[in-house]
Amino acid sequence: MVEIDYKLTYKGYSEALKEGKLLGIKCNKCGVYTAPPKKVCVQCASEDLDVVELSGIGTIRTFTVIRVAPEGFEAPYIVGEAELDEGPWLMGNIVDVDIKQANLDLIGKRVKVGSKTAPGDKYSCGEVQVPVFTLV
């Protein structure tokens, strides 16, 4: 079997996330962090990368409350984006905020990244590990 040198794959990232570790890749050329992972550095496209564990702490930059759910999901729930302290942004579910309290004041709040397992469906290759955000 030919090993294609993809530094940190979706599979590797997801397995680590399930074990409680948020991984990213750090570029040895320009120092920028890329998460979720890509084939090359998000900033300079270098392949000279190291897999690193991130702090898992970030700041909410935006969110929404989903009221009309897709098949397989149960509304209402909060989807948000957090800017990790290392720089990259991550999308996840904000899980410890009462829907009634979900307003613009959420933007700027500090969060910690955890995860949950979504079962997936016929439009996914198996289960999917999804980041969740809790307020710190």
Binding site: P36, V42, T64, V65, A69, E71, F73, V79, G80, Y123
Partner: protein, 415 residues
């Protein structure tokens, strides 16, 4: 590169249809071919935008079936998919084949069926425009993307949410007023009409009669106009629509020789972007700014030269942000411009005279071609009640998925 003209254009009525996506495309295609004074056999290649017929109708490779349905089986027939920008990227590609001299006559457009399927399934399938690995399974929906854009916009520009929602409401009011005048539109009622309907219904059912003071009042009411993805409500969202549109592209020389009123495509742009989180600040849609710049440069024009714009108001906030990205107003000032009437008839730039995606509807594979249809019809003064005077320059704008594919087309009256 030689010049390329649009001859005939065709569009089905958008809405909920019993017809299949292939049947719809054939109707639009034959309208375009007939309007061009051509026959199907004159078409040398077919380019069809379509996003979801595989999931919704068990139909992949749709272009080949579309070719057979109009008697041109055998021609190169290709499906294009760029989410909601599918037909626009098809038109941009088709343009290149004619501009290069490889083809003289091509047919390009798109088709989609999304009105006739279960809403939860449609919502699931419409998630495919987001990153399927890292973002889709948060349960982010297509409205959710733009809901996040709205909150980010309010926060970034420190616009009180109430004011931003008012500005979003003005988009819905404007576009519904225009859609009412468009016989091809999916939703042919104004917000004021909807209020009247609700009042009549309440009286008939002997229920308390609603007392909204005006259209904005109705739009703010989350019982009458429920939340879909905060802060977006139903009337901030375009409908699920069935429909098709098609245009015939030919070399400008061919057009000038035989047919009247050719409209030139003078500028094109296209750009891409990755996952939503990768894009970070989505109040500035980077791919749009890149794409629009390419189109303006190619046409040797600027935003100040544009008379009408058919842009991607999949959600009301998207229109406000698009007018900024296309260079009509500075960042953060799109809503204010709307309040002043700058995007209505009589303003700097008429935005979405067709009713936009909001009222005309959004059969996603077809939308880019329907935008071209509107601009061409406006230039030919065939728009009756919704006619805008003296349209010389128009620009279309389509945005695919989570801002991942943007395509802009500039058209100019050829005479």
């Amino acid at each position: 590169m030689r010049e390329v003209a649009v001859l005939g254009v065709g569009m089905t009525k958008f809405g909920k249809s019993d017809k299949t996506s292939i049947e719809l495309f054939s109707e639009a295609a034959m309208d375009a071919i007939n309007e061009s004074n051509l026959e199907p056999k004159d078409v040398q290649a077919l380019f069809v935008g379509n996003c979801y017929s595989d999931c919704v109708e068990s139909q992949a490779n749709i272009a080949a079936f579309c070719a057979a349905d109009i008697g041109i089986s055998g021609v190169p027939a290709t499906r294009f998919e760029g989410a909601c920008a599918s037909a626009s990227v098809a038109i941009r590609d088709a343009f290149m084949w004619v501009a290069s001299g490889f083809y003289d006559v091509v047919l390009v457009g798109g088709t989609e069926k999304s009105a006739s399927i279960d809403q939860a399934f449609a919502t699931r399938v419409f998630q495919f425009g987001s990153d399927g690995r890292y973002e889709c399974f948060t349960g982010l929906t297509f409205p959710g993307i733009f809901a996040m854009m709205a909150y980010m916009y309010a926060n970034k520009y420190q616009i009180p949410l109430e004011r931003l929602k008012k500005e979003m409401g003005l988009v819905a009011i404007k576009n519904h007023n225009a859609g009412k005048l468009n016989p091809k539109a999916h939703l042919q009622f104004s917000i004021a009409d909807r209020i009247q309907k609700k009042i009549v219904e309440a009286k008939e059912k002997e229920k308390p009669v609603p007392t909204w003071n005006n259209e904005l009042d109705f739009l703010y009411d989350t019982t009458a106009n429920p939340l879909v993805a905060d802060p977006l409500q139903v009337f901030d969202c375009c409908p699920f629509t069935d429909g098709a549109s098609a245009v015939v592209l030919v070399s400008a020389d061919l057009a000038k020789k035989h047919y009247k009123n050719p409209v030139r495509i003078s500028g094109l742009g296209q750009s891409s972007a990755g996952a939503l989180s990768f894009q970070k600040d989505i109040t500035r849609v980077k791919a749009r700014e890149l794409s629009a710049k390419q189109a303006y440069n190619m046409a040797r024009l600027g935003p100040e030269d544009v008379d009408i714009c058919e842009l991607h108001d999949c959600f009301t906030i998207a229109e406000i942000v698009a007018t900024e990205g296309l260079g009509f107003f500075p960042p953060g000032k799109g809503g204010e411009a709307l309040e002043k009437g700058n995007t209505s008839v009589g303003g700097n730039i008429v935005v979405n005279p067709s009713g936009g995606l909001k009222a005309k509807g959004h059969p996603i594979g077809a939308t880019g071609a329907a935008q071209v249809y509107e601009i061409v019809k406006q230039m030919r003064e065939e728009c009756n009640e919704r006619q805008i005077d003296n349209v010389k320059v128009g620009i279309t704008d389509t945005l695919g998925g989570d801002l991942g594919t943007i395509c802009n087309i500039i058209l100019e009256r050829g005479w």
